[in-house]
Amino acid sequence: MVFFLQNIINALQWGSFYAMIALGYSMVYSILMLFNFAHGDIFMVGAYIGFGVATGLVTLSATGFIALPGWVILVLTILLSMFLTSFVGMIVERVGYRPLRDAPRASAAITGLMIGIILETGNLALMGARRVSFPPLIESVTYNIGGVFVTNKKILIVVVSLAFMLALHLFVQRTRYGMAMRAMAFDFVVVPLMGVPVNTIARLTFAIGSALAAVAGILFGLAYPVLDPYMGIVFGWKAFVAAILGGRGSIMGATLAGFLLGFIEIFVAMIFPSTLRDLIAYSIILLILVFRPHGFFGEPYSARLRL
């Protein structure tokens, strides 16, 4: 039982990374009807930007010029990185997606893939092949609650993720821009005729998705401090699967499916040898999609790739 609870905590943490990244995929999908295949790499870029900002602040703080406590640095890092990474997202949208808005969707998928490769290679060229380690901004404290070990970082990660997801939900439901987003998700053809600035909304969507990916990157860096340029591939593709599993363009679905994927992975690893994790996790996903072909919250409609 204790073991079980322990794994639930782990799964919540693991799932919140997936959910945060899947949200980015899902938002772009709901508005532009295409997948931003570079999103996994934006997560990676976000983690590196977070690393840069955090290291900078820690060094600054160490010089004694302005001594900042760890949690302040963390908050500053998150905010600054969100801001910076959102520009990366907007550039990606401008370069890779806006010119292709009327092109076949598969072509946009290819540009996304290629932008992802460029981001990975660019990072490799800038930072070199060595892995970098994320500075431990807050001291790790472990609480023992009836035999279940919970670190303060895990709690922080889950709480911060949930807070951002809630904020996103409120943004989409309550604000004028959020309303425009929902309208565009509903009908991409008519809404532009009604005075909604399509380009602005598309850019905003990419910016928000990227900012969330940056948060996920920093939180990931806190939990697993080793970063490498290809970390976006593994996470990105899995989160992409989660986004689809949740149902295309459904924010709620993406969140739940992200957590579900985290649970599947952690519990598979708990029961079976860990090398079987991907095999079983993907087999479950495949079965879910075969028997529920439109995900959990997706609208069943006969979509096909426009050629």
Partner: protein
């Protein structure tokens, strides 16, 4: 009319138009023979010329690698390429234009298999002689031919049938492992499979059988995608195929008898250039036959409007099943060849990177087009070899190039074009056959 215009003094041939007209009237046979001359020239005189010019060795890939490695050698390299390739090809093509046209016309009067065989034989001779210069060239050629097979077979699904399949590296892996298990198990002494059961010399003849089996295993694997595709299309099928890719990869990682994540080695050296070339030619021929037949056109109908296809007596389920299994078969064969060219496979090869590579070739070359797949696979494989001296910056230049192609030609360079071998081999001395 067109033919007379050249002779009449009132229309002097000028600039690009003239060049085009002069080139346009050389038949394919003429070009092939001209290139054959050039590679023969390089074979016999290349070393001497390279010494003369002070180049350390013959530039391997038309000098691009040399120029990128040592920019100072650029004038010499360009001169070499001009003297060995450009000039002889241009001259020979012009000189043998008439005889080549005559010969092409004679050949085309025979059953189409004969001119096809002649053209292929010359093409093979060119590749063989060109490859003789260095082992690196042979390896590049083999990998390029395999890339052509992969690209073309993926185009059957992504282009002709309009689904976005991500499982091609998975099919390739199935073929690679099945073929390797067959050959390593029977013909090689290996620490996993023990001593060879049959003499190794026999294996060369059974290698096509092994490839066929590899292809069939991949085709069976394709059922996992084909059956859901009856109900699911578009994005969800793309994810099913992606999940399949990950499943195959991680299944192989967990199979200890094929070496798990460490991979499988000691494949016998069966994938010679003639073997790879024949497999590739067969693949192009069969796929081209298929997509040009009315049965193959059913793929296009399913893509453009499935309901209409159904109402016009097309069995859409059968069509999808055939398309997936057929494409997977060739991916499996390509995988088998790949394993025997490198003589080593490991599951990590068949991941997202391979997927991005094959997708890039399909969409760069052009959807729904055999020409496009050949052009895409050859140009991207060659480019990726030629830009090797740039190291990682290669992976910035090639993606940028692809993004540009996608922006300006979203369906690829040569999309929706039929590959008509008969037309390609026609003599070009008559105006209606000019290109």
């Amino acid at each position: 009319m067109e033919a007379n215009r050249d002779k009449s003094p009132s229309h002097p041939p000028r600039g690009k138009g003239a060049l085009r007209r002069a080139c346009g009237r050389v038949p394919l046979l003429g070009w092939l023979l001209a290139i054959l001359c050039a590679v023969l020239l390089e074979h016999y005189l290349g070393k001497a010329l390279a010494d003369l010019l002070g180049l350390r060795k013959i530039p391997v890939l038309l000098g691009v690698v040399t120029i990128l490695k040592k920019p100072l050698l650029m004038p010499k390299t360009v001169l070499f390429v001009f003297l060995i390739y450009a000039l002889p090809i241009g001259l020979t093509a012009r000189l043998i234009r008439e005889p080549a046209n005559w010969l092409a016309e004679r050949l085309m009067r025979m059953p189409v298999l004969i001119p096809a065989a002649v053209h292929l034989a010359i093409l093979y001779a060119i590749l063989h002689i060109w490859g003789d210069v260095s082992a690196y060239r042979v390896l590049t050629l083999k990998l390029t031919l395999i890339a052509v097979m992969l690209t073309l077979s993926l185009n059957v699904i992504n282009g002709y049938m309009g689904e976005f399949s991500c499982s091609h590296p998975g099919f390739m892996a199935l073929g690679a492992y099945a073929t390797s298990v067959f050959t390593v198990g029977l013909f090689a002494t290996d620490k996993i499979f023990g001593p060879a059961l049959l003499p190794e010399a026999l294996g060369v003849y059974l290698f096509p059988v092994a490839l066929f089996l590899g292809g069939m295993v991949a085709a069976l694997g394709a059922l996992v995608i084909a059956i859901p595709s009856f109900r699911t299309r578009g994005d969800y099928l793309a994810i099913i195929s992606l999940a399949f890719l990950f499943i195959v990869k991680s299944m192989i990682e967990n199979l200890e008898f094929v070496g798990g994540p460490r991979g499988l080695s000691s494949q016998p050296d069966y994938a010679s250039l003639p073997m790879v070339f024949s497999a590739c030619a067969l693949c192009v021929w069969i796929i081209n036959n298929f997509v040009r037949s009315t049965i193959g056109k059913a793929l296009n109908a399913v893509r453009d409007d499935e309901m209409a296809a159904d109402a016009m007596t097309v069995n859409t389920r059968r069509t999808k099943m055939v398309a997936f299994m057929f494409a997977a078969f060739w991916a499996g064969v390509a995988g088998g060849l790949f394993a025997h060219v490198l003589r080593y496979v490991n599951p990590a090869t068949f991941g997202i990177q391979k997927l991005a590579e094959v997708l890039a070739m399909v969409y760069f070359g052009g959807l729904n087009s055999v020409y496009g797949s050949i052009v895409g696979a050859v140009s991207l494989s060659m480019l990726s070899e030629a830009l090797r001296p740039l190291e990682i910056f290669k992976w910035i230049i090639i993606p940028l190039l692809l993004i540009l192609v996608m922006i300006f030609r979203p369906t690829g360079l040569i999309a929706f074009k039929e590959f008509d071998g008969r037309r390609l081999m026609q003599p070009r001395n008559r105006p209606d056959n000019e290109v």
